[in-house]
Amino acid sequence: MAFVLFGVMTIVFFISHVVPADPVAAMLGGQAPPELIEEVRAKWNLDKPVYQQYLIYIWRLIHGDLGTAISTGQPVAEDLLLYFPATFELATMATVLSVLLGISLGVISAVKRGRLADHFSRVLALSGISMPVFWLGLLMLLLFYYLLGWLPGAGQLPYYMSRPPRVTGLILIDSLISGRFDAFTSALRHMVMPALVLSFYGVAAISRITRSSMLDVLQEEYINTARAKGLREMAVITKHALKNAMLPVSTIAGITYGRLLEGSVITETIFAWPGLGRYATNAFLSVDFPAVVGSTMLIALLYAVTNLIVDISYAYLNPKIRYA
């Protein structure tokens, strides 16, 4: 894993340095006098050749220093710690929703194949995959916040409510730690819409995969055996069929989770979510090398970890893999 991260770091470092754009120009705008620009370039070591900048970066990295972000003036590690928890919380919530809704829909449409429920879940899946997130997000905001007033609007908490003291950075956990139950329920309500929006794609993919995988499994002879020995249909589906149909589902769920952990700039912007997606995108747009490399490494790490978890879950789902 260390090699993967090192490789990613090196590639991103050089790519971001050959981009013909000037981070200092992005920071200071069009009006700053040239001497000042030179001064700032020197401060960020941007006046040195790229290979020297790379060596400086590696030297610092070995000492656990990801550098300082040009666009925020803060150490990159601190920035990532500040913005990642919000994304982590939302991504986890969205993945849980995707898995629960996706599997239920998939199972139902496999069992009720060709019936109304199957068609319904197909339409849902199709729209989930094809509907752009910004459109879905704005539509939900318009309906549930503006028109119906059932759910709160953008943000993690009501505008007037102060945040619980930061311990983990996860707003739900921090609210519980500080005993702020008002903040907990508000934060949960604020999370519903963005989590639903983010889960839509996952629900679509997981329900489709579950359906086809379930259909395959339901053809197997041991299912007939299970039915023949008089098991209730519910037990046949959940105990015998579903567990065996889960293998491809866990792959998709893992990929979905990895993808969500990068943060989604669009959802985070619409719902004013202080997450990694907005931070990383802002870093890319302002050619903020240290922040770009730091966020990319974090994302690579997250992918590696979620892949590992998926591999482990394979072993649980299919004991044959354990001995392979």
């Binding site: 007033g149 953008a154 993690q156």
Partner: protein
Amino acid sequence: MRDKRFFVGIGLLLLAIGGLAQTPKDVLIIGMSHEPIIDFAPARVYEFEGAFVLEQVYDQLVNFIGGEEAFTKIEPGLAQSWEVSEDGLTWTFHLRQDAKFHSGNPVTADAVVFSFRRSLERHEPPIWILEQFVPEKDTIQKVDDFTVAVTTNQPLGEMLMAAVLGYQGICSILDPAVVEAHATPDDPYAARWLAEHDAGSGPYILKEWRKRDRIVLEAFPDYWRGTPPIRQVIIKDIPDPTAQKLALERGDIDIAWNLLPEMIADLKGKPGIQIVETPSWYFHYAAMNLGYKPFSDVRVRQAVRYAIDYDAITEGLMAGAAVKCHTIVPVGMFGHLDLLYHQDVEKARELMRQAGYENGFEVELLTRTDPPYPDIAAQIKQDLKQINIEVKVTAMMYSQLLKLYRAQQHQMVLVRWGVDYADPSAQAAPFAHCRTAGPEAEIKQIAWRNMYCPSGVTDWVEQAAGERDSRKRELLYKAIQAVVLEEGPYVILHNPLIQIATRDVVKGLEVPPMWYYTELLSVSKE
């Protein structure tokens, strides 16, 4: 038909269930994008949003208040009066004696000297605004406990002095005791602490800052201009304009700061909403590089200016959310010259013929990728085609474009410019001062980048900055604008409007042309 009625009925029902929220009377909630904010450390802040917060929590020696006419007169700030020496170099400020910092300490001459020297020593990007006239720390001297003298390196017009010393980013006055209490050996000026706290004397206290979440300001009861009517201001990060608009319409926020022109048009006339508008002091402009042969002929530059359909751009593309302005000093600024070009394709063709370019030429126009630049560029392309100039539009990231523009490596650009401080010299120096287009130039600003070096105008620019007779000064700036408009390399288009939507319970919000000078002290709610 029946279906339609059904849906309207459902819609109304949903609206009724939805209801309308209302914020408390003594709390003002502003929706604003926090994206550009870095922190609130005086001497470093260069972003509009950051300067806007400093405006509320700090005071400067002099002040500008009000809306559109804000920068036409200088108001006393922490200095209640000032005078200038015979040679025009030394400004003496008499401080008011009833002003207090949030800590309770009095605002004294020591604090003023400390604050200016701190800015000069920290030497962060915006320092050039002060440093160009006050380069040395020792030129800021305490005379007595409530009197300070600032000596400049050249005589300055009063407006120019005020524009520079009124700039929040660099010239805010800090409480030395508070700064020293939070200083550490590696951070002697407490920049880290000041990034999220304040040491000011302004009407509001910076109470809380959660990045990408909210900024909370609390009224300072002992403020020398009186306690602010609003007890608490919450500036909530809502980056998406649509989400801001919905929150305003729902009544969850009182002010929406970043709405798009079409949203403002939609909100106009809606019950419960009002719009505050001011022409801003930034403009969209195209510039022609005289280093590109065809543009070295003044007749070609004039032909380009005559060929452009200004109405189509300002009225059409900008949807009327801009006022035309073709001179380098924007509408509403001291010395603005109200002179406009009008499209005249025949005249443009004639000028091209005289210059020997009736068959035209090709030119590459660099511009940004974000709206409205690609649309304006397309209009320019279409307009210039009529005089046989074949424009190739290349849109790129702004940081990429600036690199080329700064190195004079463009043929033509379409970008924007924002006024740095409230005086025409902030425009004349970059756009009309250039002694040589070579690398040895002293000021490498817009005129230099476009290799436009008018020696006579450059003399006027230097003379105007120090001219103390305000009538003569105004005439000088008008002359500079007239010449630059006639022979310069610019096609200045318009000043976009700043458009801010508020609930109608919000009273007293006045937005000046540089919006970050907006004072929340005058704002109240019914």
